[in-house]
């Protein structure tokens, strides 16, 4: 994506991604960490910030945060917790426990499928707030509403904030970054990372500059709720900034709200009215210093990451690692299956194509035993059934949850046509379509369609299209 510009302007994007960790309980209390339940049932004195309640750090949250850090090639270091002080009704203590100058994970990177690395400055632990619903007024904002309802089920849910460096140079790279990050988070079991449910939230810092110039003034874009919106919001914001600068105005550093309906960003707050968070060391917690043994055990337990999986599948199939088939199959988590089909004797490249196309809705664990699919692919690659017949057999396998491909092919009357039968069919077709044959012989490649169509019709689809084409080409000389 390097070289992306809008009217000669480069754009510079840094992403801050918040992910909710898939822990059993909250970051500092024993209440369940569960989305979608009846409001205010996963609460306790700590969650509600009742007087006298004290936080106790959740070890599982630390471990999941370490997994994220290690998967992003960060250094895991001794760290501390701070209080970030500000008033908001859904923040029970009027401060958020977060990490400030000594975060758990620092200095990592994420590699985009095309190979470009985006720096990760830090990935730190913090607690989520409750969720406010503003009733009355317009737009669901607190301003102008009649009253607000607060659900504290989300308060205290563990979050990791992943602060990316401003290495992203296009809306497309931003989308790739988030897509890749999501896959990593899911792969390591740290989060379900669903943007639509808010378990993954993305803020974008956007600025523009002429090539070779220093960084421009940035704006932070909030309320981006899908990967697609992220691309749109960044592009809109970049164009807005460019228009401002080109009309002689200045970009003002501010936080802006992405509005999905009008496709614009709007001022939320300017730098001047930004809160002074008065960070200071959280006195109710002690420093956290994961020892080397703990870090190494977490590292050793990390599963293979998407990048590695794509490389492995690409090598096995001879297809590019950032090509659509490999990307899609790895994202769906079906790569192990494809390789298993290969191990069972099926052509692995063919398996990739079938799995990508036919298994779209099948989730991560295809229902057909790998050996059965391998059997079907062998019928196909040995020429005993055609590609069209293969699809029919496969859909039969899928609906039965497996089976003997050869038996299905036989039951359907799919028989491999021998060479002499095919030659006979060709003779008959050429006799029936002399004009098309003449055009084909004159080099009009499209004309072959009529002849092949005739053969397919005559054979009721049992002729192998590839074999027919080969015969026709041979006869044309």
């Amino acid at each position: 994506m390097s070289g992306y510009t809008i009217d000669g302007w480069e754009i510079v994007v840094g992403l801050e991604v918040h992910v909710e960790l898939a822990t059993a309980t909250k970051l500092f209390s024993a209440s369940a960490n569960r989305f979608g339940d009846e409001p205010n049932i996963h609460i306790d004195p700590v969650t509600l910030g009742l007087p006298g309640a004290l936080p106790v750090l959740n070890r599982q949250a630390v471990e999941l945060a370490m997994r994220i850090g290690l998967a992003l090639e960060c250094t895991v270091q001794p760290c501390t917790f701070h209080r970030k002080n500000y008033f908001y009704p859904d923040m029970p203590k009027a401060y958020q426990i977060s990490q400030y100058d000594q975060p758990l994970n620092v200095d990592g990177w994420l590699e985009l499928p095309g190979g470009k690395r985006i720096g990760v400055e830090r990935a730190h632990l913090e607690e989520d707030t409750g969720k406010s619903t503003h009733v009355g007024g317009s737009g669901g904002r607190i301003h102008g509403s009649d009253h607000s309802l607060i659900d504290f089920n989300r308060a205290g849910v563990p979050l990791v904030e992943i602060v990316g460096r401003p290495d992203i140079a296009s809306p497309e790279e931003a989308k790739q970054y988030v897509t890749e990050l999501r896959q990593i988070l899911v792969a390591v079991g740290a989060s379900d990372a669903k943007m639509e449910e808010g378990s993954m939230r993305c803020d974008a810092n956007v600025s523009v500059r002429k090539p070779g110039q220093p960084l421009g003034t940035r704006c932070e874009i909030k309320n981006v709720n899908s990967v697609r919106s992220l691309g749109r919001a960044i592009e809109y914001e970049a164009r807005r900034q460019i228009a401002l600068i080109e009309s002689g105005e200045k970009v003002r550093q501010e936080t802006r709200h992405w509005d999905e309906t009008d496709g614009h960003t709007h001022t939320l707050r300017t730098k001047e009215d930004a809160d002074d968070y008065r960070y200071f060391l959280e006195p109710d917690l002690v420093p956290l210093a994961p020892d080397a043994a703990w870090i190494e055990s977490v590292r050793a337990a990390l599963p293979m990451l998407p990048r590695e999986r794509r490389r492995r599948l690409a090598e096995a199939t001879g297809v590019p690692a950032d090509g659509e088939a490999v990307m899609v199959v790895v994202e769906r988590g079906q790569d192990d299956y494809v390789l298993a089909v290969g191990a069972a004797g099926g052509d692995v490249a063919r398996a990739l194509v079938h799995v990508k196309e036919a298994y779209a809705e099948q989730g991560s664990i295809p229902s057909v035993p790998a050996a059965d699919l391998a059997g079907m692919i062998t019928l196909e690659t040995s020429g005993r059934i055609t590609a069209t017949q293969a699809k029919t057999v496969l859909s039969e396998l899928l609906s039965n949850g497996g089976g003997d491909a050869a038996a299905i092919a036989a039951a359907k009357g799919f028989e491999a046509m021998d060479a002499s039968s095919l030659e006979a069919l060709v003779d008959e077709a050429l006799a029936a379509q002399p004009a098309a044959w003449a055009k084909y012989c004159d080099g009009e490649e499209k004309a072959v369609g009529a002849i092949v169509g005739h053969i397919m019709k005559a054979s009721k689809g049992q002729a192998d299209g590839k074999a027919v084409s080969a015969i026709l080409q041979a006869r044309r000389g």
Binding site: P45, L48, G49, L50, P51, G52, A53, L54, P55, V56, L57, R83, N85, F87, P89, P92, K93, A94, Y95, I142, S148, I150, D276, R278, Y279, F280, P283, D284, L285, V286
Partner: protein, 477 residues
């Protein structure tokens, strides 16, 4: 038994053995409350009915041959900043009026499990901010030894309750001297344990890195017994030290032969001459009992008060931010959320609390942090280092607890600085996290009690109690 037991040790033993009933013991204390509480106002709430029910249960246990625990039938008063399930916990603040905690503080659970009978919730300076209990929203507590005088603070109610025999023991909290100073002014024993020895879970926070719960009793042995019952690791407090209860009863009769007792040569001056005289006598008594007196320097002690009045308000400004009218306690309605916060906090907090919130907010603010809070933390480190050097030479240090005896009600209310000076000898202990205790040692002006403070290094409770017991014996001679 010819005389009714009054000490914790005596009551516990007599009730356990069935010599005396818990109900009898309780009624004697309730009678004292009936007689003198109107003149003293030690309590925000007397829980006579609940206490009678508990006492009856204790007696039933004894009758049934079950051991109710070492504090069987011991009437205990709780500072009203300790959470008691279903029982109002006000911190002597309007802002918490009507709030009933849904849980018990760890110390309350432990005392209950040991057989204690809770007689009520004692008055304090609002949120423990003060040295005279005059900052209570519910009226001043008067000194049982002279009701024209204050009982000290902030745990004035707890000190007065023991001094007036309303309870055999009480709990207070000590952030800068709030147990030791009222103990000295009321002529009882008061202990501030090592930070992390007693769980803070359920103590409504004033300054989390300084707060520690401790007992008030009539004598050193009783303090030792109560401390043992409430101390020991609590997984609900992350700053709790992972070790068992503090046991000191076995050292009380060892004497002080061979111990090194430090005299701080650069101790800040300004104490009453009688107080200076009692301290000198305390050193003499320990020397006579075989201790060696050594001179030590604590040059940064004089900065302690200043550092304290930045650190404690800074933490308080954050700890008290949760009283926003959203979830519990007082709410003053207003047109929007921010106005509601302002109106609620303006009406709910008293002047001293507001003064400290403003001081602390300022000290943590951007641009001032380094000059105020940051510098205070450095002073805290220096004090810690000074103590380390002193404790290389001495096993314990001795100072007055308070520079003055109990002062007349109203004498200092308009002069916060002079009030703050009451804690000049007690504050450094909190900054260092060390233990210290006040032992009654003779009288000063107007025959009012003087307390001598024994200071010890981290987890130095055994040697601290050893010396305190010797001082107690000397004072009785």
């Amino acid at each position: 038994m010819t005389t009714a037991p009054v000490s914790v040790a005596g009551i516990g033993a007599a009730v356990r053995s069935g010599e005396v009933s818990a109900v009898e013991v309780l009624e004697r204390h309730l009678a004292a409350i009936d007689a003198r509480e109107p003149d003293i106002h030690a309590f925000n709430l007397v829980t006579a009915d609940a206490a009678r029910a508990t006492a009856a249960r204790v007696d039933a246990d004894v009758a049934a041959g079950r051991d109710p625990g070492p504090l069987a039938g011991v009437p205990i008063a709780l500072k009203d900043n300790l959470c008691t399930r279903g029982v109002p916990t006000t911190c002597s603040s309007r802002i918490l009026e009507g709030w009933r905690p849904p849980y018990d503080a760890t110390v309350v659970r432990r005392l209950a499990a040991a057989g204690a009978v809770f007689v009520g919730k004692t008055n304090l300076d609002e949120f423990a901010m003060g040295s005279s209990t005059e900052n209570s929203a519910f009226g001043v507590t008067l000194n049982p030894l002279d009701t024209s005088r204050v009982a000290g603070g902030s745990s004035g109610g707890s000190a007065a309750a023991v001094a007036a025999s309303f309870a055999a023991a009480s709990l207070g909290s000590d952030t800068g001297g709030s147990i030791r100073q009222p103990a000295a002014l009321c002529g009882v024993v008061g202990v501030k344990p090592t930070y992390g020895t007693v769980s803070r879970y359920g103590l409504v926070a004033f300054a989390s890195s300084l707060d520690q719960i401790g007992p008030f009793t009539n004598d050193v042995r009783d303090a030792s017994i109560v401390l043992e019952a409430i101390s020991g690791h609590d997984p609900l407090d992350s700053t709790s030290i992972p070790r068992g209860p503090v046991t000191t009863t076995e050292v009380l009769d060892r004497g002080v032969a061979g111990l090194r007792v430090g005299r701080i040569v650069d101790l800040p001056g300004g104490s009453d001459p009688e107080v200076e005289q009692r301290l000198a006598e305390a050193f003499d008594a320990l020397r006579a009992a075989g201790a060696t007196i050594v001179d030590v320097e604590l040059p940064s002690m004089k900065f302690g008060l200043t550092a304290y009045y930045l650190i404690a308000p800074a933490e308080a400004s954050s700890n008290l931010a949760r009283y926003d009218g959203v979830r519990y306690g007082m709410r003053v309605d207003a047109p929007d959320t921010n106005a509601m916060y302002g109106a609620t906090r303006a009406a709910g907090f008293g002047d001293e609390v507001k003064r400290r919130i403003m001081l602390g907010t300022y000290a943590l603010s951007a641009g001032y942090f380094d000059a105020y809070y940051g510098k205070a933390l450095k002073v805290r480190r220096l004090i810690h280092d000074d103590f380390d050097r002193a404790y290389a030479q001495a096993d314990v240090l001795l100072t007055p607890t308070s520079p003055i005896v109990a002062f007349p009600v109203g004498a200092k209310v308009d002069d916060p600085l002079s009030m703050y000076l009451c804690d000049v000898f007690t504050i450094p202990t909190n900054l260092a996290g060390h233990p210290a205790m006040s032992v009654p040692f003779g009288t000063g002006a107007d025959g009012l009690p003087v307390g001598v403070q024994v200071l010890a290094p981290t987890l130095g409770e055994p040697v601290m109690f050893q010396v305190a017991a010797e001082l107690e014996r000397a004072a009785a001679r």
